[in-house]
């Protein structure tokens, strides 16, 4: 089945993602920022779906929007909001900021003009029906070692958090 209105959805989702990103840094209230970040994360999940990666989209929703952002909001609600609302939001480092923005802009222009050869003309049509299975085969087959090392790293982080948070174990 052919996808419908692909371009429209791409621009809609990218627009929402960028809008959410801008709102994250301009809102004074941290809870509003977190909600805007959820908007960004959900539109990214939509973009993954458009790239024929439903598994990545599902994981994006369940981990980032459903898990991590809940913890974010949990922490934000526990800290004192009165003080942070009065603080100045942007520090005045105009020179460094302008330089960074210029460098990024030049990079974008270079990629847009000279990078056409780097990208394929058409998207590879991956089998949507077996995306999860493909990911599983790659993770538990070809990249087994790297995957296990990464999970070991996470285990170390969990133990570290417990050790640091609890005085007596």
């Amino acid at each position: 089945m052919q996808p419908v209105a692909t371009t429209f959805f791409f621009y809609l989702l990218s627009g929402l993602a960028v809008l959410g990103g801008i709102l994250v840094i301009t809102r004074k209230n941290p809870v509003h920022s977190a909600l805007a970040l959820i908007l960004t994360l959900l539109s990214l999940a939509g973009l993954y779906l458009m790239l024929y990666a439903p598994f990545v989209a599902g994981v994006q929703i369940i981990l980032y929007a459903g898990g991590i952002m809940v913890l974010f909001l949990f922490v934000i609600m526990l800290v004192n909001l009165e003080r942070s609302a009065k603080e100045e939001q942007f520090n005045k480092q105009w020179i460094a900021g302008t330089a960074a923005a210029l460098a990024l802009g030049v990079l974008f222009i270079l990629v847009y003009t000279g990078g056409k050869a780097l990208f394929p003309e058409h998207l590879a049509q991956l089998p949507e029906q077996s995306n999860t299975q493909e990911v599983a085969i790659l993770l538990y087959g070809n990249y087994m070692f790297a995957f296990e090392i990464a999970s070991l790293l996470l285990l170390v982080a969990i133990i570290g958090a417990v050790v640091m948070a609890k005085k007596r174990i």
Binding site: A57, G58, I61, M69, V70
Partner: protein, 416 residues
């Protein structure tokens, strides 16, 4: 145009897979209507069943045996004044109930009411359902924070802590069921809701009985975690009325509150349908292999009609037992009419083409209904947990047991 409509009727695909926008829309509308009716019915049933468990009568005044009570409640909620606290965060306060309702209804696009009766079948069905239903906690947190009041905030904090904890146990139970679905020739499992039921069909067993007692333990873990996920008794700490008035929706009234109510019940139906799909064989009728053959197929296909006839007889018994005072005349006539409608629906369900098409939906709904009854039963019998007990159950019992079941399932899958 007519071809476009009729072309789907003989199809054995879901509207999503067939790419049929019209039928997908029809399915969405049907599911929405069905859910609304189910929520209204649950409202009445919960009050009635709880009342009978506590040796009370429950709603009796509005309509015969209080049958019209949910309608009266809905009308009351719609015309009630909608109050927004003065210091509330207006936008977030307004968005929270919408967010909760949207997540609660979105998950139903992958629920398989039958091999073809789902809006669509996704490659990531279960993951999608768990992910989107885990988003509903964001709505609760938004509601609690935006109310700018203490009780809702505490309720929201409790809710987020509870949901994040129980999601892990829930996920582990789901993974062990998904692992069981990979025991086939190809050796690959599936996350698609329809695929999971088909895997149970191919293995001639419901996953709850697979590798006894491993499947059963995983199912019990899921059944406990799903009660906690939907904030229902005995895990209803986010809205514990003895401590927090009404928890995260204390400041909500009227229509917005009814949205929370709607979302809570449809979320209960959603997680119940995950449990039914993963462990209780989804749309399959009981004993599909043991009691197979033409005769048994016919017997089991008569069940939907018989259920409605039984309900109709129940209504007519009510008509006979109604007080004979003139004051009750309209109520008696109404109940008789209701019984007649139920009986007519039952008769329609006996017609062979309808019977064949409706069977899957019937068995799925019956299983979900049993699960919903369990919800009411828990609420009627268990005392509420304390918060530290809740956390202890989640992290120190369900999580280790879940990991153990997962490992044992993997071992059993490899060796048996």
């Amino acid at each position: 145009m007519l071809d476009y409509i009729t072309s789907y009727l003989k199809s054995d695909l879901t509207p999503g897979a067939a790419g049929n926008v019209l039928w997908a829309f029809v399915y969405i509308l049907l599911i929405f209507l069905g859910l609304s009716v189910a929520v209204i019915a649950m409202n009445w049933l919960e009050r009635k069943i709880l009342a009978h468990m506590q040796v009370r009568l429950g709603p009796m005044r509005v309509g015969p045996h209080g049958l019209l009570q949910p309608v009266a409640d809905a009308l009351k909620l719609l015309i009630k004044e909608d109050i927004m606290p003065a210091e509330a965060d207006k936008v977030v306060f307004w968005m929270a109930p919408l967010f909760v309702v949207m997540t609660a209804f979105t998950v139903f696009i992958v629920v398989p009411f039958g091999p073809t009766h789902a809006v669509t079948d996704m490659n990531i069905g279960v993951l999608f359902m768990l992910g989107v239903s885990s988003l509903s906690v964001l709505g609760i947190v938004m509601a609690g924070w935006a109310s700018n009041s203490h009780y809702p905030l505490i309720g929201a904090l409790r809710s987020s802590a509870q949901m994040v904890s129980y999601e892990i146990a829930m996920g582990l139970a789901v993974i062990s069921a998904v692992l069981m679905s990979s025991l086939n020739q190809a050796g690959t499992g599936t996350l698609s809701m329809i695929g999971l039921v088909q895997a149970q069909q191919a293995q001639h067993t419901w996953f709850v009985f697979k590798f006894f007692p491993l499947g059963l333990i995983a199912f019990v873990i899921f059944a406990i975690a799903m009660v906690a996920e939907t904030n229902r008794a005995p895990f209803d700490l986010p809205e514990a009325e003895s401590e927090l008035t009404a928890g995260f929706h204390t400041e909500y009234s009227g229509f917005r509150w009814s949205l929370f109510f709607l979302a809570e019940y449809s979320a209960m139906i959603a997680v119940s349908s995950i449990a039914v799909t993963l462990w209780l064989g989804g749309w399959m009728r009981p004993f599909p292999t043991w009691l197979s053959g033409e005769t048994w197929d016919l017997v089991f296909s008569l069940f939907p009609g018989l259920t409605f006839i039984f309900l109709a007889v129940f209504a007519f018994v009510g008509v006979v037992r109604m007080p004979k005072h003139p004051y009750f005349r309209i109520q008696t006539m109404g109940l008789a009419g209701f019984g007649a409608v139920l009986g007519l629906i039952g008769l329609v369900l006996f017609a062979p083409p309808v019977r064949d098409r409706i069977q899957d939906i019937y068995w799925f709904s019956v299983k979900v209904a049993v699960s919903m009854y369990m919800y009411i039963w828990y609420r009627g019998t268990f005392p509420r947990y304390r918060f530290d007990q809740l956390m202890k159950v989640g992290w120190k019992i369900l999580l280790p047991v879940g990991i153990g079941v997962l490992i044992l399932t993997a071992i059993a899958g490899v060796w048996l």
